[in-house]
Each structure stands twice: as C-alpha cells, then as structure tokens.
C-alpha cells in the first residue's frame, strides 16, 4: 500500500474534524501497524468495497473520545455510553465517505456500516497479506490514530 491510498484519508480527517468538531488535528508519525493494543481504546472501523477495497479505523483513548463526542453533541460527556459510541461511529463513517469520493471511481466505492470496539484487552488481527498503516495525530482534544488498509480490487 502506498501513499496514494492513505493521503485521501489523512486529508479527510483534517477536513472532517475542522468542520464538525472545530478541532485541528496535526499528523505525526506513519508506521506499519502491528495491532498490539494494551491500553483502553475506543476504535471505530468501517469497510470500503468496489474497485478498491479495504478498511479504515479511528482509534481514540477514552478521554479523547469523550471530548470529541461532546463537541459533536454539544454537551459534556462523562462516560463511554451509547451516545459516545454513536458519535465515534459516525466520525469514521464521515471520514471514510469524504475520502472515498477523492478516489472518484465509477461506480462509486461503497461503505459498510461502521462498527465500534471499546475495551483494553482486545487486539485487532490483520490478515497476513494485508498491510495496515497507522497514522498518529495530535489535537487540542487529545491524541488519536487512524489505521488504513487499502488496495486495488484483484477481482
């Protein structure tokens, strides 16, 4: 996977966070993702299919998830509840939607429905042939990361 597949998602994070949350995320490191995760996280994932296929995930420490959901909902959020899960789920949906339009395929790429995982003892497992890149961000709402795997459809 090269930068061609990652750049639209990075740009989309910046645009979506600024428009919907009033947050200006700064991109930090990019590395191959191992899937190890010992800390408590709220991770939202969405699949993309069509001429290209893959998956994008946004992963937040709980405090970052609470701040971002609070900004979306216009109220302070104190705990990871159904409202926070819904807000974080919608964030990845909008980020993926904006990114997929940049690929401009015909027919348009299709999004799945987002899934959210919350906990501290889970590990995302990646199929052996897929390469996941992890892009870390810092922002005034806290640090977070995006994980992307994407490739042209072999079919």
């Amino acid at each position: 996977m090269d930068a061609f597949y990652v750049t639209p998602f990075v740009e989309s994070v910046g645009s979506v966070f600024q428009t919907m949350l009033g947050v200006n995320p700064k991109r930090n490191t990019v590395k191959v993702c191992t899937g190890d995760n010992g800390n408590e996280r709220v991770t939202s994932l969405i699949g993309i299919s069509g001429r290209m296929h893959g998956c994008v995930a946004l992963s937040f420490p709980p405090q970052t998830a609470l701040r971002l959901a609070g900004r979306m909902l216009g109220t302070d959020m104190k705990e990871i509840n159904e409202e926070v899960i819904d807000a974080i789920s919608e964030l990845v949906n909008i980020v993926a939607g904006k990114a997929k339009a940049k690929f401009n395929t015909d027919p348009p790429l299709q999004l799945g429905l987002p899934t959210v995982v919350h906990g501290s003892a889970y590990r995302l497992k990646y199929p052996s042939r897929s390469v996941w890149l992890e892009v870390s961000f810092s922002s005034e709402a806290g640090d977070f990361s995006m994980e992307v795997t994407y490739s042209p459809d072999r079919g």
Binding site: T19, A69, E83, D86, N93, I94, A101, D106, P108, L113
Partner: protein, 124 residues
C-alpha cells in the same frame, strides 16, 4: 412546521435537529432507517421537509426516496449524506431529491438549504 429527520446515527439526527432550529423548524420526527421513515409518512403526519441519509440498514435513503416519490409524496427532500460523488448527486436528483448536502456540514449550511427549499415551496 415539522421536519422528518432520517438517519441511522442519533448523533447526526441531533445535529440536524439543532440546525433546523436556525431555519425556524422547531419540531421534528426522527427515523433511524427508511422503513421507519415510510411508517412516519403513512401515519399521516405532515412534514415541511424530509432530511434523508443515504447509507442506512434495512432500507437505504435512495430506496426510501424512490418509494416516497412512487407513492406520490411531494414533500421536499434533502439528502444529507457522506455520498459525495457527482454520480450519486445526479442519481438522487433524478430520483426526486430537491437538494443535496454532503457530510460534514455546518449547521448554517443545512439551515440555508432548508430555508431555500421552504421559500421555493411557499412561492409555488
């Protein structure tokens, strides 16, 4: 005036309902998929405008829009969606959408589109 807000995300429904207040609409019925939206319409409730997501479980927004127009429902519809490709916009307009708003959006953007639609409806 009342709006029908159709989106599987309660977060988006809440954001949309807040933005509708900027357009003078302070009452809304919520639906989390197309089937619920059709039920709300069948109940006889009158809506000034319908805000309709595209990607939803059970029944998508475009299927819902098609069903509404085939049933003769003329209520103005704004698609509010992550589907940003030009072909999607054209498909929605051909199916009967009156306007199209791509997520992410600001409350002012949504309010402006609703005000525009209401003004057009009032003039006809």
């Amino acid at each position: 005036m009342k709006a029908l807000v159709v989106d599987d995300s309660m977060t988006i429904r809440r954001i949309v309902i807040k933005a509708l207040a900027l357009a003078g609409i302070n009452e809304a019925t919520e639906a989390s998929d197309g089937l619920e939206a059709l039920e709300a319409i069948k109940s006889g409730a009158q809506f000034a405008v319908i805000l309709l997501d595209w990607n939803m479980p059970k029944m998508s927004g475009i299927e819902t829009l098609r069903a509404l127009r085939q049933a003769g429902v003329k209520t103005p519809v704004i698609m509010v969606t992550t589907e940003a490709e030009k072909s999607r916009v054209i498909e929605a307009i051909k199916t009967g959408a009156n306007d199209y708003l791509i997520k992410p959006f600001s409350p002012d953007q949504l309010a402006a589109k609703v005000k525009g639609l209401l003004a057009t409806a009032a003039a006809t």
